[in-house]
Amino acid sequence: MFYREAGDFKTSYRADSQTFPIRFDRYRYYVVLAIAFLVVPFIINDYWANAILLPFLIYAIAAIGLNILVGYCGQLSLGTGGFMAMGAYACYKFMTAFPDLSMFINVILAGVVTAIVGMLFGLPSLRIKGFYLAVATLAAQFFLVWLFNRVPWFYNYSASGQINAPQRTMFGVEITGPLAPAWATYLFCLVFLTLSALIARNLTRGSVGRKWMAIRDMDIAAEIIGVNPLRAKLSAFAVSSFFVGISGALFFALYLGAVEVGEAFNIQKSFLILFMVIIGGLGSVFGSFAGAAFMVLLPVALKVVGVDLLGWPTDTVAHFQLVIVGALIIIFLIAEPHGLAQLWRLAKEKLRLWPFPY
């Protein structure tokens, strides 16, 4: 096969710690990037954008964020939906308060606000762990949704209680509002996903990531090597919430356009993102992509096969989907906590030695 590392020797530590140490992986990564940026925008249509590509891009950002907290730092959170709502409402407030501000800046600012809020809700993590921390983040989920529902200032006193994304352009092209072309919203989200993945990868391969993983694996030993547990945990909450906030802002402004907070960002969203992280692989940036793709594609694939091909009733297919996801979660939690990413890695390892396994 073509997958080889033979003859690919590292002559410096710098080369050894790069993101894709094997040259073949690096090329494949460039090819994927090129297709995503240069080919897809020309062939995209509304169905593909709305059913698959936009949800995938946006959920992948949220999954990267949650993976940093759960997979890398070992702090379980069930508040992802609430933090996405924070990003959405922050973005809405910035968009309406500063109509001239670039949409790019709006989204970044929404991430920053969410990072700060996430740090506040991360404070209990110094004292409580595991199950109890999960309950505390659950409180964040319900509190934030309640807040955006009940305090009219957040939805600018609109009669419906909803927030609607005003029309905004980027380089003269509309990217929010009903007239925005699919390729433009797609590209805008793609830029954010690419940046998020790059930053997440850089952080997790350096000393910041090692601090998080040290806390995850054994917090007492982490302290003994000089890691301040509070700062490490709060930085994980901040970075994680930053990405989750960005994804919430994009979900609202570019994907849905109008949001009813109890519907768009309820507890099910928290679980959806958590399932993406578990199925994709805890502690892997690539796994966040895989998990998001899987959870977005599964209902689409089931609909095509079950409803369109086999003629099953829609609700049967929906139940079937719940069963599949539930079973996969259990299987991955018990048998392969590193998820799809690890299966992919194992497949590559086999391939690397093929056809002579010894």
Binding site: S17, N202, S207, V208, R210, A221, A222
Partner: protein, 272 residues
Amino acid sequence: MLDASEGFTTEDGRRIGGVVMEMKNITLRFGGVVAIQNISFDIREGEIRAIIGPNGAGKSSMLNVISGFYVPQEGEVWFEGRQRPKVKPYEVARQGIARTFQNIALFEGMSVLDNVMTGRLTHMKTGILSQSFWLGRAEAEETANREVAERIIDFLEIQHIRKTPVSRLPYGLKKRVELARALAAEPRLLLLDEPMAGMNVEEKEDMSRFILDVNDEFGTTIALIEHDMGVVMDLSDRVVVMDYGRKIGDGTPDEVRNNQDVIDAYLGVAHD
């Protein structure tokens, strides 16, 4: 000779300096249990200082006091000429004190190399922002610290497993990796809690050699707890003997060996 505050020279010609760490009248209680009772002793620059005693004597507790895990109810800890206020373990690490644990405390989900690199964390200063974009400074820092880590890895002869996840290693190698992580911090004081427990003879010899080499090549001051008397007598310059939370002996290996209290403790009290 031991009293001279500016130090002394050992039989094998190594230079032992002044007092680095001094424990003054330390008492540590857990509820009704007195783990350490009014103990004083010092550690001198460049020496290998052993703490011995039967099971439950309070040796690990003493190491935990030094590394900031336990706060004694009474007594003072002096480090490098200053009385140390109440500190957190991570602050102790930043002052240049590294340690290993009686029960290995490695990061099981990380590779050997990453574990050793965590030992460098106190030397790494770049923040989240510059690391996010892997800017020049972040990358230079990573490379410079990687070089130190690799030197330690070579020194402890664990190059062949540097990319292996720690969870897959046998016990003896884990102990060595834990030593590597502590050494990577380039500590001024190294605390080892039973570095040879559970090892076979060959592994013990390797470990003894490493400890002597560390002390010799890097001049690192070492305080270690060990049950194997032969090893202790070979390695250490001075020995503190504890029993039931009290200090019953303190001196060179020869002095301790001929101390009647020590002999009684080891013959009279069942241990191991």
